[in-house]
């Protein structure tokens, strides 16, 4: 059983402490939902977890061992941006992204995964003709293609219709049932079943530091 944890993390953005003394722990098969009002630091915490942002204090651990190199190679980060090139087709974009994330880059494997996310017939469309929701779905396909141990997803339900949302929730559930870990910044923790909820705003500067997340 692997454990991914963070100890006494604090985050400073532009000379302001956004949160301090935040600790978390997540095991195989668990979903951790980050909640809290806008600006409380959900995205910053996710970026710290991904190693894209250095914490002001504190550290990340894998099985109790400080090992950021290993972490970077086992994390799949999905932020608010859409790293898709509008001039290229869905399948060409995914070939590239899957290749850099260490997934398969042959067209057949990607086409098969696209069928699963309901984008099969759009695979040769240039991304510039897709709606925002379809672009999000394209990125969800990447989650399945890159076989990584930890998914860090920032507000994944934005732009998605009900069908897309159900699909995503099912995908995350299947993934965690197979032993994956997922950390999701969300305003709707009730969507994610029996997840652990961590309210990031509780670690706002000046609040009681003894509150520790599950």
């Amino acid at each position: 059983m692997a454990v991914f944890s963070g100890k006494n993390l604090s985050c400073a953005r532009g000379h302001r402490l956004i949160f301090e003394d935040l600790s978390f722990e997540i095991k195989n098969g668990q979903i951790l939902a980050l909640t809290g009002p806008n600006g409380c630091g959900k995205t910053s915490l996710l970026r710290i977890m991904a190693g894209l942002l250095d914490p002001f204090t504190g550290s990340l651990e894998w099985n109790g061992e400080k090992n950021p190199d290993f972490l970077a190679q086992n994390i799949l980060w999905m932020g608010q941006e859409t790293p898709l090139k509008p001039q290229l087709s869905v399948i060409e974009n995914l070939q590239f992204l899957s290749c850099i994330m260490g997934g398969p880059s042959d067209k057949a494997a990607i086409q098969e995964t696209l069928e699963k996310t309901g984008l099969g017939r759009f695979s040769h469309y240039p991304v510039r003709y897709l709606s925002m929701g379809q672009r999000r779905r394209t990125l969800l396909t990447l989650l399945y293609l890159a076989k990584r141990k930890i998914w860090l997803i920032d507000e994944p339900t934005n732009h998605l219709d009900k069908e897309g949302r159900d699909h995503l929730v099912k995908g995350v559930m299947d993934y965690t049932n197979q032993g994956g870990m997922a950390v999701i910044a969300t305003h709707r923790p009730e969507l994610w079943g029996s997840c652990t909820v961590l309210d990031v705003s509780a670690f706002d500067e000046g609040t009681a530091p003894e509150r520790i997340a599950a």
Partner: protein, 220 residues
């Protein structure tokens, strides 16, 4: 290696589909060279004495044009975040970018140089031009892409980029024009030509590493 080709192919695909880049740059290069006889007069003697330098200056200006866009898209759309979490070092990505950029923005200038030299009536053989323009355009790309990474988050990045890059291009200009001058007068141009290649040998392994550091600094 797989990642390097993926970056290279993606960039070439975008530039070729987008169309513009491939035509605009050679057209710009051609236009600048066409301006000289109009401004200086069509006298063959004048053109022959100032021609070699003018040719390199035109290539320098044409190389400046496409630099700004080099890394901005990948930084803004979040591709850079994923690249940092990739299993491959970022230097492969930078190398792929440089190769694609030279194929689109450098190689056409090299191929056009003999035609333009002929137009200006310069007596320089095409292989002498290749010998000078190949390292010169590669150096323009290698040095320019550092400045592109440096000015990523700046407002009015393109102006800053030109200010940063032009002074660094001066040695390439001096040795490039010097070599072409010597070639034209029929003397041995070994010295300045080899110096260009030596600069290239120095820049080729080092500049991508500098860019990797700069790109990592831009992400937070």
């Amino acid at each position: 290696m797989k990642q390097l080709t993926a970056v290279l192919m993606q960039d070439l695909r975008i530039d070729i589909r987008h169309g513009g880049q491939i035509v605009i740059l050679p057209a710009f290069f051609l236009l600048i060279v066409l301006l000289y006889p109009l401004g200086l007069g069509a006298d063959v003697k004048t053109l022959q004495t100032s021609g070699p330098g003018l040719l390199i200056i035109a290539a320098l200006l044409a190389s400046l044009l496409p630099l700004e866009k080099l890394y901005t898209d990948d930084l803004k759309d979040g591709t850079m975040d994923l690249l940092l979490l990739s299993q491959q070092p970022l230097s492969l990505y930078v190398t792929g970018k440089i190769m694609a950029h030279w194929i689109i923005a450098g190689a056409p200038l090299v191929i056009m140089s003999p035609v333009l030299a002929q137009m200006m009536g310069l007596g320089i053989s095409w292989h002498a031009l290749m010998l000078v323009f190949t390292p010169a355009t590669l150096l323009f790309v290698l040095i320019g892409q550092i400045a592109a990474a440096l000015s990523l988050n700046a407002q009015r990045g393109s102006v800053l980029l030109a200010l940063l890059v032009i002074p660094l291009y001066i040695p390439i200009l001096i040795f490039g024009a010097g070599a072409l001058d010597l070639f034209q007068s029929g003397m041995s141009a070994k010295g300045p030509a080899l110096f260009l290649w030596a600069m290239l040998a120095f820049a080729l392994p080092l500049t991508p590493l500098v860019t990797v550091k700069l790109l990592k600094m831009q992400i937070d």
